[in-house]
Symmetry: C2
Subunit: 370 residues, 2 copies
C-alpha cells in the first residue's frame, strides 16, 4: 500500500498540482508523438512555439490581461526584476517605493543603483504587520513609477485591493511584485502599469519570471540595461531574444491548463481559485485566532491568503512541532529564518483538504502539549 502524498507547505519553490507533474512525467521522453521531450526542442521549432503560444494565450485569458499589455516570459526571478524594473522604467530619475516587508525592502535597496529612490511609505513601525493606508502615502511629484509588493511572502501581508494611484493624484504607473500571489486572485489592470513575479509559487519551476507590462511603458530602458532584460527587446522578439527557459514555460502552461479546469461554486479558473483560497485562508486563520497556543500577528485587513506565518506561544516547542508535523505528512512548515516561527504557504496547488489536515494537526498538537 502506498502512503498518501504529503501536503507540502513550502513558501517556494512550492507544491505543483499532482496532475501537472504526472502529465510532465508521462510526456518526458516524447511530447505528443514528436519523438522529443520538451527539454530537447529547439525554441524556434513549431512544437515549442505551439506550447509557448498556448501558455501565453491561457495566462492572458486566466488573468483577463487587456490587449495593450505585453506578456513576457523572462529569467532572473523577483530579485533580478528588482534591478530590471528600474533599468527599464526609471530613466535614471526618481522612483517611489512602499515598503511593507522583506521583499519590498530588497526592491528599495536594489533600485537605488539606478535612480533616486523615494520611500513613499513604510510598515516598519508595525514590524510589517500591516500596510500603511494609501491615503497617507507621500508620493514624489516626479516619480517614474510607484513600486508595491502586493503579497509579502515572509511577513504574510497582502494587499486585498490595489492602490488607486490616480485617486491619490499620482499619474505614475503602479508596479506590482505579485510573485507570491499571482493567479490566486483577479487583477484590476486599470490600476497597474507593470506586474512581475517569479514562477516558483503559483506558476511552475524556479527560473521563470512572468512580466506583464503596459505597452506605453516600453522604449525607455537605460543604456546599461542588458539586452536580455530589456522589456522592449524581449517583447519585440516574443520572449525569444535569448533562449527562454523552455521547460519552465511548458510546466507553467500545464499549470495554466489545470487552473482553467478548476471549478468552485459555479465559478471557473482564477475566480474559482480565489473562492477556494478565501475558504482555505479563513479555515486556517479562524483556527489560529481561536487558540492561545498559536498566534498570527498580522492586521486582519491585510492577512495574506497565501502565506500564513504563525508562532507557538512557547517557542521551545518549535522543534517538536516541526518533527511531529513532518511525521504527520505536513512538510516544510518552518518559518523564514528572519522572523522565525512557522509558516504555512497555501498556494493554489494546496487543496482545502490539506489546510484541513493542517488545522487538525494543529488542534491535536495543542491538545497533547497544552
Amino acid at each position: 500500500m502506498t502512503k498518501p502524498r504529503p501536503y507540502n507547505f513550502s513558501a517556494g519553490p512550492a507544491a505543483i498540482p499532482l496532475e501537472v507533474l504526472e502529465q510532465a512525467a508521462a510526456e518526458m521522453t516524447d511530447w505528443h508523438g514528436s519523438g522529443m521531450g520538451v527539454m530537447e526542442m529547439s525554441h524556434r521549432g513549431k512544437e515549442f512555439i505551439s506550447i509557448y503560444e498556448q501558455a501565453e494565450a491561457d495566462v492572458r485569458e486566466l488573468l483577463a490581461v487587456p490587449s495593450h499589455f505585453k506578456i513576457l516570459f523572462m529569467q532572473g526571478g523577483g530579485i533580478g526584476e528588482n534591478a530590471i524594473v528600474p533599468l527599464n522604467l526609471s530613466r535614471g530619475e526618481t522612483a517611489d517605493i512602499v515598503v511593507t516587508g522583506s521583499w519590498s525592502e530588497k526592491s528599495y535597496k536594489e533600485a537605488a543603483r539606478y535612480c533616486q529612490i523615494h520611500l513613499a511609505a513604510s510598515g516598519v513601525e508595525s514590524q510589517f504587520t500591516t500596510v500603511p493606508a494609501p491615503a497617507n502615502w507621500q508620493i514624489s511629484k516626479d516619480a517614474r513609477y510607484v513600486h508595491v509588493c502586493t503579497n509579502e511572502t515572509i511577513h504574510g501581508v497582502e494587499f486585498h485591493a490595489l492602490p488607486d494611484l490616480k485617486a491619490l493624484g499620482c499619474d505614475a504607473p503602479l508596479v506590482i511584485d505579485y510573485s507570491s500571489h499571482v493567479l490566486s486572485r483577479s487583477v484590476d489592470w486599470s490600476k497597474v502599469g507593470l506586474a512581475f513575479g517569479g514562477a516558483q509559487k503559483n506558476i511552475g519551476p524556479a527560473g521563470l519570471t512572468l512580466v506583464i507590462v503596459r505597452e506605453d511603458l516600453l522604449g525607455h530602458a537605460m543604456s546599461v540595461c542588458p539586452s536580455a532584460f530589456n522589456y522592449t527587446t524581449v517583447a519585440e522578439f516574443g520572449s525569444m531574444y535569448n533562449t527562454p527557459p523552455t521547460y519552465g514555460i511548458y510546466i507553467a502552461g500545464l499549470t495554466f491548463q489545470w487552473l482553467k479546469r478548476q471549478k468552485e461554486g459555479g465559478l471557473q479558473g482564477v475566480a474559482a481559485m480565489e473562492q477556494r483560497n478565501i475558504a482555505k485562508a479563513k479555515l486556517l486563520y479562524d483556527f489560529l485566532d481561536s487558540s492561545s497556543f498559536y498566534n498570527n500577528p498580522v492586521d486582519k485587513n491585510y492577512r495574506s491568503r497565501m502565506n500564513v506565518p504563525f508562532f507557538l506561544a512557547d517557542a521551545s516547542r518549535n522543534d517538536a512541532f516541526l518533527a511531529a508535523s513532518k511525521a504527520a505528512g505536513l512538510l516544510q512548515l518552518k518559518g523564514h529564518k528572519s522572523i522565525g516561527g512557522m509558516r504555512a504557504s497555501i498556494y493554489n496547488a494546496m487543496p482545502l483538504a490539506g489546510v484541513q489536515a493542517l488545522v487538525d494537526f494543529l488542534r491535536q498538537f495543542e491538545k497533547t502539549r497544552a
Copy 2:
C-alpha cells in the same frame, strides 16, 4: 511495437540522454522518498541542498576545475552573460574581443554598453570559416579581459587549443564562451580566467547558465551590475542569492552523473566523451569531404566537433532533404536561418550510432537524387 526513438540533431535546446529523462520522469512526483518532486522543494531545504552540492562536486570533478575557481549556477544564458561579463570584469574600462562568428559578434556589441571594446581579431573576411591565428591578434595593452567564443554554434568553428595569452605577452584573463562545447572535452584552466555557458546544449534545460570564475577576478563589479548577476554576490551565497533554477540544476546533476558513467577506450567521464566526440565528428566530416553532393566550408583545423553545418550543392533539394530526413527519424537538421543549409549538432547526448544513421541517410539520399 514502438518505433525507435528518433535522433535529435537540434543545436539547442538539444537532446538529453534518455537515461536522464527516464530517471527524471520516475522521480517527478517523489524524489528519493521525500514526498516531493524536485520542482517543489525549497532551495534552502536539505533535500535540494544535497542535489546542489552533488552537482557542483560532479562538475568540478568532470572538468577538473581547480579549487581557486568558483562554480556558479546562474540564469540568463549566454546572451545574458554578454552583459554580465563586462558588468563584472570590465570596470568600465577596456575589453578585447576576438570575433569568430555570430556569437562573439553578439558579445562584442553587447559589451560596448559597459566599456571600450577593442576588436583584437576577426574572422569576418573568411566569412567565419576559420579563426585568425592568435599570433596575429592585436590585444590592447590595458584590456581588462580578452573574450573568445571557443565554439561558434552557427558557423561550426571551434578552438581545438585555447589561446595562450601569456605567450602573446598579455596578462589579462581569458574569458571563454563555451556554451556549445562545455563538457565535450577537457579545459586547460591554466589559460582561463572565466568560462561561461548556457546549459541547453551539453548540460540540461535552457534557463541555467554555468559560470566558472577564478577567485581573483571577483570583487570588481560595476555599480550598475544587478545583484542577482554580480558574480561576487552569487559566489558568496553559493548561487542562492536569488532562487536558482532548481529543476535545471537537478537535470544538470543527472547529466553529470551520466557523464561520469561513460566509458570509451579505457577512459571515463569527459575524457571518454572527448574520444567519442572525435570519432563522431570524423565519421561525419570524412563522409562530407568524400562527397560532392554535400560540403562543409570550414577550415579543417577549426572544424567544430559539436556543430557541423553542411550544404547541399543543389540548394533546391533542401526541402526534400529535410522532409526525407525527418521521415527517417533524423530530427532538427535545418541550418540556422542566418547561413542557411543544414546543421547536425552532435553533442554529448548523440551516440555514434546516431551519426552513423545520419551518414547512412546522407549516402542514401545522394544515391537516389544524384
